[in-house]
Amino acid sequence: MAPTKFEDQMRNTLEKRTIAPSPEAWSKLEYRLNDNNTKKGSKLYWWIGIAASVLIIITISINSFSSSEKEVELPLVIEAEPEVLEELNKKTPVQNNKAVEVVSKNPSQQRPVDQETAREKVNNEQLRTPMNQSVVQKTTKSTVESNKNTILESTLSLIKDKVSELTVKVDIEDTASIIEEINNKSAVPTDKEIDSLLKAAQKELLIDKTFKESTRTVNANSLLKDVEEELEQSFRSKVLEALVSGYETVKTAVANRNN
C-alpha cells in the first residue's frame, strides 16, 4: 500500500511547518552539555585515582613480601674468637661444618652462618659489598638481637655436648683403668680410694679450668663456667656409677672364686 495522495499532501503541508522553541530551551541544553563535560572529567579523575591506588597497593605488597623474605633468609649470626674456635676444634674431632662460630663481638662483623644455604637464597657478593652490608644491617637490625640469642643458645648447647663428650671419654678411660686395677687387685675399693679418685678428678677439672681461663675471653669465661658447673655434677655421678658397677663385678668375681 503506497502512500495515498492525501498522505502526500499531508506530508508536503506538514514539512513546511516550523515551531520555534522556547527562549530558555538552549540554556537548558547548554547546562546539560556542561554538566556532561564535568562528569566526563570527574570520571577520568576517578579512574586515575583507582589506578594510582592499585599501583600503591601492589608496591606495598611487593615491599612487604620482599622484606619478610629477607628476614627469613638472613639468619645473621656472629663471628667467633678464633682462639676459642681452635680449642673447640681440637677437642672435637667431629664435623665442623655446622654453625660453631659463636660469641658476638662486633655486630659489624656479622655474616650468614651457613654460607651454602645463604648463597642459594642471597648473593654473598652483594652482601659483602659495603653498600649491601649497610642495607642488610638496616633491614635486619630488628631481627639481629633475636637471632643472636637463639644462636647463643644453640652454641651453648653444642659446647656443652662436645665438652661432655670429651669428659665422658676421659672419664670412661679413667674408670676403665680403675676397674681393671680393681679386678686385678680383686679387692673391694675402700673409701679412701674413692676419695682419691674424686680428688684426682677434681684436679683434672681445675687444670682444665685454669688452662681455659688463660686463653678464653670474657664471654667465653662465662660460658665455660656454666659448662664446668654442669660437668662437675655429671662427672661425680658418672664416677660413682662407674665405681659401683666396678664394685659389683669385683664382688661377683670374688663370690665365684670362693665357690
Binding site: T13, L14, R17, T18, P21, W26, E30, L33, N37
Partner: protein, 187 residues
C-alpha cells in the same frame, strides 16, 4: 557555489561542535531546532513535552556527533535521532498497544482529498489517532519509513505495522468525511 560554501561552513561547524565548541553547537541548534521541534510534534501532542524530547535529541546529537561521517544529509541524521527520541519519550510516558487485526488488502478507502485542510487541522487529525496507530501512520505516511524499518524501531512485526496503518487510515478517512461535511455540508 553557494551550496558548496554552505556545506563547507556546516562541515567546519560540525568539526568545531565535535570539539565541544559551544558557539558552533549553538549555531547548529539555531539552524535545526524549529524543524526538529515540528518533527517531535508529529508524535507528541503536548508542545512542552515535544520540546523536551527535542532537547533530548539535540543532547544525543552533540554527544554522538563524531559518529556522523558526512555520508548523507546532516538534517536527515538529526531527524532520525529525533524520531527515535520521540518514540522512546512516548514509551516512557505510557504503555503503547498495537492491537493486531487482519488486513483485507482489497478493501481500500475512499481517497477523497480536500486541499483546503490546514496544517493545524491535519495535526489535530493525527493527534486524535490512538498512540499505536499514530506512530505507525506518521512514520510511514509523513516520515517515509518502510514497514520493515517501522517494525524494527517499534519492536513489532511487519504485519502489525501494516494493520496499524490500515486502521489509522480508516479512522482518518472517517474524520476527514466528518470535517468535509461540517465545512461544506453534504455533497
Amino acid at each position: 557555489m553557494k551550496v558548496i560554501h554552505l556545506n563547507k561552513n556546516e562541515s567546519e561547524l560540525i568539526k568545531k561542535a565535535i570539539n565541544s565548541n559551544r558557539e558552533a553547537q549553538h549555531v547548529l541548534y539555531e539552524k535545526y531546532a524549529s524543524k526538529m521541534l515540528s518533527v517531535c510534534r508529529y508524535y507528541i501532542s503536548d508542545i512542552q513535552k515535544a520540546e523536551e524530547a527535542m532537547l533530548n535529541g539535540f543532547f544525543k546529537v552533540f554527544k554522538n556527533l563524531k559518529q556522523f561521517k558526512n555520508e548523507g544529509s546532516f538534517e536527515g541524521w538529526i531527524r532520525r535521532i529525533m524520531v527515535r527520541e520521540s518514540i522512546s519519550y512516548i514509551r516512557q510516558e505510557k504503555h503503547i498497544e498495537f492491537p493486531t487485526e487482519v488486513v483485507e488488502p482489497n478493501k481500500g478507502y475512499n481517497d477523497t482529498v480536500n486541499s483546503q485542510i490546514e496544517v493545524a487541522h491535519l495535526q489535530q487529525l493525527i493527534d486524535a489517532l490512538p498512540e499505536g496507530y499514530k506512530m505507525v501512520f506518521v512514520m510511514y505516511a509523513i516520515e517515509g519509513y518502510k514497514h520493515a524499518e517501522i517494525a524494527t524501531l517499534l519492536d513489532i512485526s511487519e504485519g502489525t505495522s501494516k494493520s496499524q496503518l490500515y486502521k489509522a487510515r480508516q479512522i482518518l478517512q472517517q474524520q476527514i468525511k466528518t470535517l468535509n461535511h461540517s465545512n461544506y455540508g453534504t455533497n
